[in-house]
């Protein structure tokens, strides 16, 4: 990778960039803290990683449309919904890479990463239900979208040194499941499964409107739990992020 990067004019001394695509500002802050904790655990110096928050780009509409379309239980409409979801995600990846490039003011490289995260807004009655097809297929559709996007970029002649690493992840019902799991590491245990997204928020923050929570309270209630122990607890309790965490630490 070092050879490839230098071949294409990538400055390895400059910090690598990580771009966060999520459903909102608080989601981005949670992800940023997880990235920082995981990077520190992998021995990456804080100064060598810069995190960018991409505003106004989100998978929210695509996933809401997907759920609405899959309500109709017949196979053709489900296949059509999956196809539409993949197409929507590919468009979003194209616009994300373009905005990410503008944001950092240089061509993207294989040292840059994009986290493509969204809330499913669907609850799992039990942790094992993640492996039911209706839930498990959504992250797989995101993976398919990423691979198709790479396929298109290769067809346009992009070398692999000039494409970012994309890390997709979907949370059930929302990213707050990570906070709940991390808090369990400090003995604040409750089972986040079986709760829908607003119920989970109320349980964690005392309100289902996170925008009304002050930054200080959010730090206290959520971010400060995302330590090494917290991530270990997430690893144990949240199967939908295991692959994501491993990729994050490896890349």
């Amino acid at each position: 990778m070092a050879q490839l990067a230098s071949d294409h004019g990538v400055n390895r001394d400059s910090p690598s960039r990580l771009c966060l695509v999520a459903d909102g500002g608080t989601d981005q802050r949670i992800l940023e803290r997880i990235v920082q904790t995981c990077s520190r655990a992998s021995g990456v110096a804080r100064a060598s990683l810069k995190v960018e928050h991409l505003r106004g780009v989100t998978l929210r509409d695509d996933i809401d449309r997907y759920w609405a379309a899959t309500k109709k239980a017949d196979s053709p409409s489900i296949l059509k919904a999956r196809d539409a979801f993949v197409k929507g995600t590919i468009s979003l990846l194209e616009s994300t890479s373009s905005k990410f490039k503008d944001l950092i003011g240089r061509p993207l490289s294989c040292r840059d990463r994009v986290i493509l995260a969204t809330d499913a807004e669907r609850r799992l009655a039990h942790v094992d239900r993640y492996f039911d097809e209706w839930a498990w297929v959504v992250p797989r559709l995101l993976e398919q979208s990423v691979e198709k996007w790479y396929h298109r970029k290769v067809a346009y002649g992009y070398p692999r040194a000039n494409l970012p690493v994309i890390l997709p992840v979907v949370f059930f019902p929302s990213i707050d499941v990570l906070v709940a799991a991390a808090r369990a590491a400090r003995g604040d245990a409750f089972d986040p499964r079986g709760l829908d997204a607003p119920q989970l928020k109320r349980q964690l923050y005392g309100t289902d409107e996170l925008r009304s929570v002050s930054p200080e309270a959010f730090e206290r209630v959520a971010l400060e739990h995302l330590t090494d122990e917290g991530i270990e607890s997430i690893w144990k309790m949240v199967p939908e992020v295991r692959l994501f965490l491993l990729r994050l630490m490896a890349s």
Partner: protein, 429 residues
């Protein structure tokens, strides 16, 4: 905090009620009555602040009042006296404000009515019911019944009452203080760039000084930033932090005494430490100026209890609307908000589906305003109630329901994309 506000016979509102949340949104076509509702609240708030049923106002034609004979015979005279009254209302129908207000110490239900009195003037009457949460005491007081009065003196009457429980007196003071401090802003870039307020007359000067100098259209922004930098560093730094989150290249604001201007500093080149490029306010984007004004309103330590913002989306990229709304929500309350009431409340008007999308999980805090041309009357409907009807007839499959504390099914959420679709096909707005 205000729980409910009703206007009767004010401009196009013959009888319109809204329940206020931390952030409440009015959407509707042009000329449907959204602004009228905001202006009505502001008008009554000013009357309460100045304890008078009529204000010296450019809209009120005092010269007409001074001339003609009896107002009943002269329509022009009537509307000179009551320029804000619904034009099809009868002469003896009052223009009225009703509000329900809540505080951790108790609650208040207040009514203010304006009616004509002999001598070509405006009379008023007030009524209040105060409920103390701690003392379990209630009092009902009124002023101007049966005979109309020429001043709003209920507040003074309560303050001077020797029979009233101390806690109810405190509650009354808190209510009237809140009721007299509702401010409406229609921030406009050309005003936001003003180095000093360009005020034409006394009435303008008075209204422009609302809310610690920002001014209704934002003409006090530059002067305010200049002053805040010297006098209130904490608020100034909070505004800077908000602006840096809005535009990462923005760095600071300083006053250039040589130019007698506020100068905006940006770090245009990453990796060149210490280099800042400076721009006059004329050269700064409309969006950033508006962000500065909204940041001020949401960062100020003692905000007014009710801030009304017209067309918040003007000049703002849709991608940044979410950031604006986060500022408003954060300013409105904290995690303890549900118990103690909100720090401040916002009432917005908008023509933007992007703003509407921010309310996908707060449909009860959105009202649609339509103008009924037949009666020239604004109809104000709660969006959750309207969408509930669509969901029940099966035309809104995406609606998600929740159970409230009584076990009733309540429309909880409509996906944001669907709200935008309903906007674009004309169902909403």
């Amino acid at each position: 905090m205000f729980q409910r506000i009703t206007l009767k016979n004010y401009r196009t509102h013959t009888s319109s009620m809204i329940a206020l949340g931390p952030v409440t949104l009015l959407v509707g076509n042009n000329n449907s009555g959204k602004t009228n509702f905001l202006r009505g609240i502001q008008h009554f708030s000013k009357l309460i602040r100045y304890a008078r049923p009529r204000l010296p106002d450019r809209d009120q034609k005092d010269d007409v009042l001074a001339e003609g004979p009896s107002r009943e015979e002269d329509g022009l005279k009537e509307w000179a006296l009551f320029p804000h009254k619904h034009r099809l209302a009868k002469w003896d129908e009052p223009t009225r404000l009703d509000c329900v207000w809540k505080h951790e110490l108790g609650s208040a239900e207040y009514r203010l009515e304006l009616l004509p009195v002999a001598g070509a003037d405006v009379g008023c009457r007030e009524r209040i019911v105060l409920n103390s949460a701690q003392a379990f005491a209630q009092v009902q007081e009124q002023w101007g019944w049966p005979k109309l009065e020429r001043d709003l003196n209920l507040q003074r009457k309560l303050a001077e009452s020797t029979n009233l429980d101390g806690r109810l007196k405190e509650l009354s003071d808190l209510f009237f203080d809140d009721a007299g401090r509702a401010f409406c802003f229609h921030l406009e870039p050309s005003y936001l760039r003003c180095e000093g307020p360009d005020l034409r007359d006394e009435a303008d000067r008075a209204s422009a000084r609302d809310h610690a100098g920002l001014g209704e259209h934002g003409d006090g922004l530059q002067a305010l930033l200049r002053r805040l930098r010297k006098t209130d560093e904490m608020t100034f730094n909070r505004i800077l932090a908000a602006l840096r989150s809005f535009d990462p290249s923005f760095q600071n604001i300083r006053y250039d005494s040589r130019k007698s201007k506020v100068v905006w500093q940006f770090a245009l080149q990453e990796g060149v430490p210490g280099r800042l490029d400076e721009f006059d306010s004329d050269e700064v984007s409309d969006g950033l100026l508006k962000a500065a004004a909204v940041a001020y309103l949401t960062c100020v330590p003692s905000p007014p209890p009710l801030i009304m913002l017209e067309e918040i989306e003007n000049g703002i990229n849709p991608a940044n609307i979410q950031e604006f709304m986060t500022w408003l929500w954060r300013s409105a309350g904290t995690d303890q908000a549900c118990d103690k009431g909100y720090h401040t409340q916002f009432l917005l008007t908008s023509h933007s589906p992007t703003v509407l999308r921010q309310f996908a999980e707060h449909l009860g805090d959105v009202y649609t305003v339509h103008l009924d041309r037949k009666g020239f009357r604004s109809d104000v409907l709660n969006l959750r109630d309207s969408l509930d009807v669509f969901a029940k007839v099966g035309s809104l499959d995406e609606a998600e329901y929740d159970e409230d504390t009584d076990g009733e099914r309540v429309l909880k959420r409509v996906p944001p994309y669907r709200l935008a679709e309903l906007w674009f096909n004309g169902t909403i707005g």
